[in-house]
C-alpha cells in the first residue's frame, strides 16, 4: 500500500526526531536509516547536496530535506490526524512559532551551554527570554496544538527531551519548573506521549554520548559565537 517511506536521520538529532514523530502521528510506516554525522554517507550527500544535513525524507522517488518542510509535507501528503490547525490565521501563528524556535532559540540555546562568564550570561538571558515567549503560547492548553500534538510541539520537541539532558552535561540550569511551570509540564506531557515515546532516543545513551563529546562542543562553539 503506497510507496516506500524512509527517513535519513541521526540518533542524537532532535531535527531527525521531528520527521519521525510526524510520520508516526500520521500512522505512516517508514524505515529509519541512521547516519553517522561524523562520516556522512553518499546517500545523504546525494539527497541533500545543498545543506548535507539530516533529516531527509524519501517518499518513493521524492526527496524532501529540512525538518519543518518535512512535517508540512507529511501533513499534506498523507491521511491521518492533522498536524496543523485548520484555520489560516492559526496556521500562520503555528508557522511563526515553529520558525521562531529555529531562528531565535537554537543558536542562543547552544551557545548558552558551552560558553562562559559574561558571554554565557548574555546567551542565557536571551534563551530564557525566548523560552518565556514560547511558554506564553501554551495558554493553559495541554499541547501547543491544543489537545493533540501539532507543528509547534514537534518544532519545540528539542526543548522537551534534549534540553534537560544538555543542562546536565553542561552543568547549566536554563528552565526550572519554578521559572517555567507550563513549559516543564508540557515537556513531560510531550515526552510521555505514547506515539512520541516510540521515536525518542534513549536518555541514558544520549547522556553518555553528549558527555563524551563535551570538549568538542566547547571548541566548536568558540568559532560560532558572534564577536561583540
Amino acid at each position: 500500500m503506497g510507496e516506500t517511506v524512509k527517513v535519513i536521520g541521526a540518533f542524537d538529532s532532535p531535527f531527525s526526531h521531528r520527521a519521525e514523530v510526524a510520520l508516526r502521528l500520521k500512522g505512516v510506516p517508514y524505515e529509519l536509516l541512521l547516519e553517522d554525522l561524523g562520516n556522512k554517507s553518499d546517500l545523504l550527500l546525494k539527497h541533500n547536496p545543498i545543506h548535507k544535513k539530516v533529516p531527509v525524507l524519501l517518499h518513493g522517488d521524492r526527496t524532501i530535506p529540512e525538518s519543518l518542510v518535512i512535517v508540512e509535507y507529511v501533513d499534506e501528503a498523507f491521511q491521518g490526524p492533522p498536524l496543523l490547525p485548520a484555520d489560516p490565521f492559526d496556521r500562520a501563528t503555528a508557522r511563526f512559532w515553529a520558525r521562531f524556535l529555529d531562528d531565535k532559540c537554537s543558536t542562543p540555546f547552544w551557545l548558552s551551554l558551552w560558553t562562559e562568564g559574561e558571554v554565557q550570561q548574555g546567551f542565557m538571558k536571551e534563551i530564557k527570554g525566548n523560552l518565556k515567549l514560547l511558554e506564553g503560547q501554551l495558554k493553559g492548553k495541554r499541547f501547543f496544538g491544543g489537545d493533540t500534538i501539532g507543528l509547534v510541539d514537534i518544532a519545540a520537541s528539542g526543548f522537551a527531551h534534549w534540553l534537560p539532558l544538555f543542562e546536565e552535561v553542561a552543568g547549566v540550569t536554563l528552565a526550572t519548573p519554578e521559572e517555567f511551570p507550563d513549559l516543564c509540564r508540557w515537556g513531560k506531557d510531550y515526552t510521555s506521549h505514547d506515539t512520541v515515546k516510540q521515536c525518542l532516543p534513549d536518555r541514558a545513551t544520549l547522556l553518555a554520548r553528549f558527555t563524551a563529546k563535551k570538549d568538542m562542543f566547547v571548541s566548536t562553539v568558540k568559532s560560532m559565537a558572534p564577536k561583540s
Binding site: 545543498i50 517518499h59 521524492r62 524532501i64 530535506p65 529540512e66 518542510v69 518535512i70 508540512e72 509535507y73 499534506e76 501528503a77 489560516p88 490565521f89 496556521r91 500562520a92 508557522r95 511563526f96 520558525r99 521562531f100 515567549l133
Partner: protein, 224 residues
C-alpha cells in the same frame, strides 16, 4: 475602550524592503486590495508596528481584519490559505509545495550572505563571497532551463527570490567582486523575465536606488 476592528488588509512595510516586496508582489498577483502603510524604521517605530509584531518589531506585517501575521514567508502561505479563490502561487501537489517552500526559504540566504558582503571586510568578506557564489550556483542549478522555478508559471519561489535581484546588481556584485550574469547566467535571464511582469516591475526599485540606500545605511552604522 474597545477599538474598532479595521476590516480588510493593511500591510506595514518599508519601501525598499525585499521582504515587504515579496508580500506586495503576492498581493498584486492575487488581485487583493490592501492599504499600504509605510513605516519609519530608521527612527522611532510606530505604536501599531510594535503592537502588531512585539516579538521581532519588524516589517512586513500583514494585518487582516485587525489580526497581524508576521514574517514574509508566513504571510505568503497565509495569503494562499486565507484567500482560496484568488490565483494560487503555490502548486497543488504536496511534493511540489514542499520543494517551493524549501527554495523560498533558501532564497533568504541571498540577503543574509549579501548583507555580510557590505558589512564586513577581510576574511569575513571573502567567506561571504565564497558562500554567495555557492548560493547563486545552487539557485541557478535549481532553476535549470525552466522559465520559472516551478516550470511554466511565475510562482512562490520566483516572488520570494526576485526582490533580492536589485540588491545583487549592482551592490552585492560590487562589494563581492562577482557578476551574476557570469556565475549564474540562467538566474540573470530569469530576473529579466520576472521584470516583464507588471506586479514585479511596479514593486521593485532599480538597483541604483538600493545601492544609495545601502550607502545610507553604511553611514548610519558607521561602516567604512
Amino acid at each position: 475602550m474597545a477599538e474598532e476592528i479595521k476590516k480588510g488588509l493593511v500591510l506595514l512595510d518599508f519601501w525598499v524592503s525585499p521582504f515587504g516586496q515579496r508580500c506586495r508582489i503576492a498581493l498584486a498577483e492575487k488581485g487583493l486590495p490592501y492599504e499600504y502603510s509605510e513605516q519609519e524604521l530608521l527612527g522611532t517605530k510606530s505604536e501599531l508596528l510594535l503592537r502588531s509584531n512585539p516579538i521581532h518589531k519588524k516589517i512586513p506585517v500583514l494585518i487582516h481584519d485587525g489580526r497581524p501575521v508576521n514574517e514574509s514567508l508566513v504571510i505568503l502561505n497565509y495569503l494562499e490559505e486565507a484567500f482560496p479563490d484568488a490565483p494560487p502561487l503555490l502548486p497543488a501537489d504536496p511534493y511540489a509545495r514542499a520543494q517551493a517552500r524549501f527554495w523560498a526559504a533558501y532564497s533568504d540566504k541571498v540577503y543574509e550572505v549579501g548583507s555580510r558582503l557590505w558589512k564586513t571586510k577581510g576574511e569575513a568578506q571573502s567567506q561571504a563571497r565564497a558562500e554567495m557564489l555557492q548560493v547563486l550556483g545552487n539557485l541557478d542549478g535549481e532553476l535549470g532551463e525552466k522559465p520559472f522555478f516551478a516550470g511554466e508559471k511565475f510562482g512562490f519561489v520566483d516572488l520570494a527570490l526576485v526582490p533580492f535581484m536589485p540588491w545583487l546588481t549592482p551592490s552585492f556584485e560590487r562589494y563581492g567582486g562577482f557578476s551574476v550574469a557570469e556565475v549564474a547566467p540562467r538566474l540573470a535571464a530569469w530576473a529579466d523575465r520576472c521584470m516583464e511582469r507588471e506586479s514585479v516591475a511596479k514593486t521593485l526599485y532599480p538597483g541604483e536606488k538600493v545601492d544609495e540606500f545601502i550607502t545610507l545605511l553604511k553611514k548610519k552604522y558607521g561602516i567604512e
